[in-house]
Symmetry: C2
Subunit: 123 residues, 2 copies
């Protein structure tokens, strides 16, 4: 499964697992309805508590990347790219809201902001 834990890195174990699996799903290495390793098998493999792998899977499920069936296992959900796109759009909207508020509080016009954004894409 190629998941490695770096105990020295500051990021929590459950987060490392979550990120790695998410990338595997997004990149397509794990396809729709593929079974993920069971939380216990993966935990045994990584020599950590299965509660920790469960947490990573819970996060993945909460964000719609996987679905789990009690007593059966955890599987890659469909429509991940659409889901990711929706999430990103929502996130972008939030950033824009912040920008609009900040711009207002320092008298920055729409045009000035637009040129800043446009410039941001050139970097």
């Amino acid at each position: 499964m190629n998941i490695f834990i770096d105990n020295k890195s500051g990021t929590p174990i459950y987060n490392q697992i979550y990120t790695r699996l998410k990338n595997l799903i997004i990149s397509g290495e794990l396809k729709r309805d593929d079974a993920l390793p069971s939380i216990r098998a993966l935990a045994k493999d990584l020599r950590i508590s299965f509660i920790t792998t469960k947490r990573a899977y819970d996060e993945l499920e909460k964000e719609g990347f996987v679905y789990t069936v009690p007593a059966k296992g955890c599987f890659v959900a469909a429509k991940n790219t659409e889901l990711l796109r929706e999430e990103n759009l929502k996130s972008i909207e939030e950033h824009i809201d912040c920008i609009v508020r900040l711009a207002a509080s320092c008298n920055l016009s729409r045009e000035e902001v637009l040129s800043m954004v446009s410039f941001g894409f050139e970097q």
Copy 2:
């Protein structure tokens, strides 16, 4: 001085003081080189530890809104509006960076993002 503490609100005391003073400075009610109440006097007034008022003042100083002179007091710094503008610009840049990254990961073009931003200003 009109500073009130709401113990029921979730925001920390030092933060309430910080926000209130910052608003007084930005709005111009406290002008350049005006003396703020001493950390001890304010603490006595609010019936809290002066360490807490000190923390609020430390935050204000770190962000450039006030300067303190040991054994003399704490005073409103100059150029607050310019400073605020700079801070806001930096913050906007950061939001733009995030947006650019998000847009890239879901194949959103510069033009699409620009129209989203433009739309954001209409709300």
